[in-house]
């Protein structure tokens, strides 16, 4: 099955998802073409010349950084020119901007947040979650000769090893960019760096009220842990972004990650699932956090916190 992988880059560096997409493409047995759309695609193209890539096609555009319209038009022309059976992009913020638009416009088979790929004869089968990650599903794309899939980050290992891809260029006509990048703004550095902590005590929606956060901060200190949080607590303005674990926060890999009252949204799991030892406490036995935890307890986090408080007194 011919595959087109759309590379992603940021500030002159290929993003890790690109190499993961190349690994995912291997499930479909190729040939695999990787498209690099950039102002100066040459240097970026060198970064994706790994084992498994048959061809690297560069598309030179005026824009240094990602812009929606530029990618949409460039990828549309790539699909028109190469007719890939499957186009793979990351399930990333940038690709959310152009991939669904393109799939709708061209009437492609489409699914996002895909974490499994296989074939049944000549049929493509993708795996993704439904109902808040509580169930998985196999889906297929009857009636579509061309399919565009957005792939969940960290679902495949990055492809590696020197490859021998051929190089080519495609000149794309970009009619204009109606959403223009002006600058990047960094996240404000916080009082602590949660990415360097050996032990994170992480709390989520389960803490209920802002007033309850203090007791978990105290508990973290007693246990020798650093307090981190899941996204909802940052959205509420209870904690700064610098303490947030997950795709839109920090990716962490402490020796111990103790999650209290965190259900485990996909975006949260992506930021902590490679932690050394994960211990999760949640009242919902079906909580997705248990799928990555090494130890789990289905019980009330406040009661456990109270007992821990006594033990570390």
């Amino acid at each position: 099955m011919s595959v087109l992988v759309v590379a992603e880059h940021l500030r002159g560096q290929t993003r890790p998802i690109t190499l993961e997409l190349i690994s995912a493409a291997q499930e479909l047995e190729g040939p695999t073409t990787v498209a690099v759309i950039a102002k100066d695609p040459g240097a970026l193209a060198d970064q994706v010349g790994v084992t498994g890539v048959d061809e690297i096609v560069t598309v030179a555009v005026e824009q240094e950084e990602f812009e929606n319209d530029v990618y949409r038009e460039a990828v549309e022309q790539l699909i028109g020119d190469r007719s890939p059976a499957v186009t793979l992009v990351g399930f990333t913020v940038n690709s959310m901007g152009f991939a669904p638009a393109l799939a709708a416009k061209l009437g492609l088979g489409f699914a996002s947040d895909v974490f499994g790929l296989s074939r049944d004869g000549s049929d493509l089968i993708a795996e993704r979650s439904f109902y808040g990650s509580k169930v998985s599903a196999e889906i297929e794309f009857p009636g579509h000769d061309q399919v565009l899939l957005m792939i969940r980050p960290t679902s495949w290992p990055p492809a590696e090893g020197a490859g021998s891809a051929s190089r080519s260029e495609l000149s794309a006509t970009i009619s204009g960019s109606r959403a223009r990048h002006t600058e990047f703004q960094e996240v404000e550095a916080g009082d602590v760096d949660i990415t360097t902590a050996d032990f994170l005590l992480s709390v989520g929606r389960g803490v209920g009220e802002k007033e309850n956060l203090g007791q978990f901060d105290d508990l973290a200190q007693k246990m020798g842990a650093t307090l981190s949080v899941s996204r909802p607590l940052v959205d509420q303005g209870w904690m700064p972004n610098s303490r947030q674990v997950g795709q839109s926060g920090k990716t962490v890999k402490p020796k111990v990650y103790l999650a209290l009252g965190i259900s485990g949204a996909v975006q949260h799991l992506a930021g902590m699932k490679t932690s050394g030892t994960i211990i999760a406490v949640n009242t919902d036995p079906e909580a997705a956090i248990f799928s990555v935890a090494h130890y789990g307890a289905v019980t009330d986090l406040f009661e456990v916190a109270e007992e821990l408080d006594k033990l570390y007194a």
Partner: protein, 250 residues
Amino acid sequence: MKVLVCVKQVAVLGDEVEFTEDERDVDPDYLDFALNEWDTYATEEALRIIEGAGSGEVVVVSVGDEDSEDALRRCLAMGADRGIRVEAEGRLDPIQVARALAEVVRAESPDLVFAGVQSSDSVQAATGGALAGLLELPSAAVVTKIELGDGKATVHRELEGGLVDVVEVDTPALLTIQTGINEPRYATLRAIKQAEQQEIDVRSPGDLGEPAYVMRKMFVPQKGEGAEMLDGSPAVVAQRIKEIVGERLT
């Protein structure tokens, strides 16, 4: 000024699950329904823009069966002016939903179209983007700040790791709204009661096209491979946690 907000009544699966006989969906008896969390932020942002402008209208639109009017009524109770439901039964993919929405947006020609970044049940993060594609509207995804200017808006897009991409987008535009952009207001009981009486404009969909994908099989994912469950009282669980932490940190 008119802002159109696309909203969804999402399904919430409880602790237990049973599948339908064909194993292609969850038995509806096991589902609860609610307004998608992202859409409460999108509705709030629309209300603030109209309040800031001093005049205008917030129109909320949803695609689904009669039950999905609950989502629209939640938005009406927050302060949205009108609700429109596009009639649809059963499971639709995001591109089909976008096709159903596109006709309403064309008819309403709003200054801004909002959609939540994603729905909490399907997590496709695609309906808004697909709608922008069908309408050929300028768009930006995962927006955490909006400043309106003349014929354009300056928006913050939240990239992975929290890095902000500041983007200048021509308007009218479609923006997908991220949680945390504002603090959604609570509807008063009185407003909720009033919204129950409000007329919802029901429209029939046009051609929704071929589905973008078809369900083969739904199943409960294998979970907790290697996860050892700690049983016993909270005191026993806490003791075990202390032991595990002690072992792993040395």
